[in-house]
Symmetry: C2
Subunit: 317 residues, 2 copies
């Protein structure tokens, strides 16, 4: 525990996952301040949001980080003279490939293609497209805790053969315990690492295990670690960046700029009513391996009748 | 992960550790309601507070659970007709042995003797006393993360030879990562388990690892698991009972009565200003392996300048 692993990279997903809490309505000032804090903290990559299709989603109904136009990102980072890379997420079935410019025209470095298990073929096509345009590409297979083992094994083989550089374990529902996460990490690293690709982890905090699961993955060769400042993210939120940098011993990391961001930006965001973080209803959806949407609704309605909510979850919605 | 370990026992420490947040000023109604919720949840043992010396602490300055007079406990539990056992904590150097009645006159089942490393001889004397009076006895060596390895090894040998039935790993400062906790659990179980005693774990949530560390310990033969409802406890608080019961597969456990207690009792307690749970300053004391007292003061003063506080911690107080 005194050494560090130089291969490990930390990706800040605060704006993208946090955008799910406030319809991506972060001010430029907020995003710029996080960009600067992340650079000061030594974060390796910062995700700015989704590349969502404007044919499918009305730009009037969302903040700009739902779409991540090139000029929106450049308004924050210019040509990004920093060593920190820039990522966006492209959802299978919700993205216009034409919106993804050739890398030579973009400040984006990494395109993260997110999909559910039935969308793997769509995702592979998107991965090929982004790779051909010159990007580093990841494949983020979501809700893996609901994927049947034989389907996951097949998907891992397909992702191993794909053009993706990184394949992510995504515990969308915050369902896994560390012991299970270790087994999953070994499975991914076995198949994906064998072909020279990297494995990543994106954890959720439904059972207060996002940080524990993330550092458990480190032990088994998972090198891309997603985190968000103060755990900002949908529902129970994510692995806290400040905890993760406190754990990683690489001297290039410094969590103090993130704590300053918490002080100056996160506390006002929370005070303004943006809601995230561990709470009892998220534990229940995590335990039941289900989407947090009903827990989010439960809390928005001001309900606190947890036991009754658990019965509703068991009855089906 | 589909089976369960019938040897595992869960001890609720909410009133004792939570009493450190409010000077033990819980109403009888609150304690009775928790007692009933714990029984309904299948909790194996409930700790009511400290047996503190009234010569050292003025009863006018604390609630009754600082002292746990026999009649205070009986006002809640009567003769305790339930299968749930009753525990109290006796701090080395802060307890009058005369306050601990013979077991035949008491509804208490388990006396938990807490000490720091330099108090081991005092603790052993207290253990002998409680054992001779007829109680089940545990030895809770606090702040083990600050104990030198050779001292811990010597202390474990002394505790192994003592009359204690259970020896607890106590991560008072929330300093350990699960990988370190696993090594510590193996060390305790090796020495303590070899002489037919049980090992327990009492974790703190400074780095959001109380639950993760507790279930990690389960894997290595630690059978007594401390938890508190909603993590109620000093500073960053403890392992959440509701998360722990959700993890343990023993059908005798049911977390729903605890969630109802959260709804009806914990939310009003929080709303009334009692403060506990993960927050940035507790992460910092956890990382630095130090007592949370300055973090508690920081938050009570309404401070949010985390980076400056970290400098203060590094400068010494």
């Amino acid at each position: 525990m005194m050494a560090f692993c130089p291969e490990i990279k930390v990706l800040d997903a605060s704006i993208r996952d946090g955008g799910l809490c406030n319809n991506f309505r972060f001010t430029d000032d907020f995003v710029k301040s996080l960009y600067e804090a992340n650079i000061a903290a030594g974060i390796d990559c910062m995700e700015f949001g989704y590349k969502s299709s404007k044919k499918m989603f009305n730009p009037d109904e969302f903040g700009k980080w739902k779409f991540c136009d090139e000029e929106s990102i450049r308004a924050i980072v210019g040509d990004n003279p920093s060593p920190m890379k820039i990522a966006v997420m492209a959802d299978a079935g919700r993205t216009d490939l034409d919106d993804i410019l050739p890398k030579s025209e973009s400040v984006i470095d990494l395109v993260r293609v997110a999909c559910y298990i039935h969308q793997i073929p769509t995702a592979l096509k998107m991965i090929d497209d982004a790779k051909a345009k010159g990007y580093q590409v990841s494949c983020n297979l979501m809700a893996v805790s609901q994927v049947r083992t034989e389907d996951l094994d097949a998907a891992l083989q397909m992702m191993a053969k794909s053009a993706a550089d990184i394949v992510y374990i995504v515990d969308s529902y915050g369902n896994y315990y560390p012991e299970q996460m270790a087994a999953l990490a070994c499975k991914y690293v076995d198949v994906i690492g064998a072909v020279g690709k990297e494995v990543g982890i994106h954890a959720h905090n439904n059972q207060q295990l996002a940080f524990a699961n993330t550092i458990e993955c480190c032990r088994w060769g998972v090198n891309y670690l997603d985190a968000t400042v103060n755990g900002l993210g949908r529902g129970a939120g994510n692995c806290y960046s400040e905890l993760l940098l406190g754990f990683l011993k690489n001297p290039k990391y410094d969590f103090l700029p993130l704590l300053e961001f918490v002080q100056h930006r996160i506390l006002p965001l929370r005070a303004g009513g943006t809601l995230w973080g561990y709470d009892a209803p998220y534990m229940l959806t995590g335990l039941l391996n289900s989407h947090p949407r009903s827990a989010i609704r439960f809390l928005k309605e001001g309900r606190i009748d947890y036991a009754r909510y658990f019965q509703e979850l068991n009855d089906g919605e």
